[in-house]
Symmetry: C2
Subunit: 210 residues, 2 copies
């Protein structure tokens, strides 16, 4: 086993933790597991993280950051029509579902399920993660609603449904052992939005609408 270069232990641990936690959960992932997977020793672990809980917080924050950057810098953000950006976002989320289940499941959602009562700091980090996910779509939805206002429909409320669809889709996909469940959540969301915004899907044989 070749030793990793000095200074990389922290990020090796975060990467390994992201993977292990998504596959086994937070509690079932031991510090020894983590160190073995990252190829570092426990000395390195406790040099960078005060406790296992602190690692949990760092992993969720790391998750928030990387996914945030990924969505914020993606091409679809440059589409002119805000509603088209929302649909493109849904397309992107659907395309992520081609990966194995453990690789598209959400670290924040997985972790908060088991720690929301026992590790307040981890729950708070998960809250930040979820809120940042909501804020991203909410921005596009607010623009779309500005162009096409609706009584009783808010960007905040709709954006919340996106997170619910993401998290619910993952849980049900895990239970049924079938990513199709997660996909259907996005399909349903898109159909609802097209109904609300009166914007049917443009298809080769159905474009007799302005």
């Amino acid at each position: 086993m070749t030793r990793a270069p000095r200074g990389e232990a922290r990020s090796l641990l975060l990467t390994a933790a992201t993977d292990l936690i998504r596959r086994k959960g937070f509690a079932a992932t031991s510090v020894d597991d983590l160190c073995a997977a990252a190829g570092v020793t426990k000395g390195a672990f406790f040099h960078h993280f005060a406790s296992k809980e602190a690692l949990g917080v760092a992993v969720v924050q790391h998750w928030t950051e990387t996914t945030g950057v990924m969505f914020a810098t993606h091409d679809y953000n440059r589409l002119a029509d805000p509603l088209e950006r929302v649909f493109a976002y849904l397309d992107l989320r659907r395309s992520l579902l081609a990966m194995p289940l453990a690789e598209f499941s959400c670290v924040a959602g997985t972790t908060v399920q088991e720690t929301y009562q026992t590790y307040p700091a981890i729950r708070a980090a998960a809250e930040d993660s979820v809120r940042s996910g909501i804020a991203h779509v909410q921005h596009h939805l607010a623009e779309a609603l500005a162009l096409h206002p609706m009584p009783g429909v808010t960007a905040e409320g709709l954006a919340l449904q996106f997170q619910i669809a993401v998290q619910g889709g993952i849980v049900v996909a895990k239970a049924l052992d079938d990513p199709a469940a997660a996909r259907s959540a996005f399909d349903h969301l898109e159909r609802t939005l097209r109904l609300l915004f009166d914007r049917p899907l443009a298809s080769p044989d159905t474009h007799n609408r302005t």
Copy 2:
């Protein structure tokens, strides 16, 4: 501590496990915890369950049964209009959200998040649980769709969205530490259904419809 009557250890353990697992997750709940909470010894535990995994399976199955009975025997099932039954089901789910978060969170969903890769038997039990939840609403939705058919909309697909809303609502409510998130999932589902089925909410000042 008064000793529990003979023959009750198994159900005491299932009850305690349902509570502890919802609060701390499956992995973080130790067999000793369980025995202490149930007021029985480890001897009793391993007399009734071959392993901790076997208990996990039994808890999820117990959950499927009790929730199944609760929904199947509820009054709203006697409403004549199938779509009204669906709305009444949503009302019931919303009313359950008045309980503390740990008491309305789903044992199957919580458990499958951390065990879907590590304990196949528990995942399978969770699949049964989710499928039984889907089947319940699907029955009402199928009747409603028979009266009001729609292209591209199936009872199965719609029922799946109910489970996704339930599970997603719980995850997001845990993350935001606010049951309102779970409530909004049901509100959104109801609005979507009223839109799809062209059945706006009957309100005191808006009942000029047959």
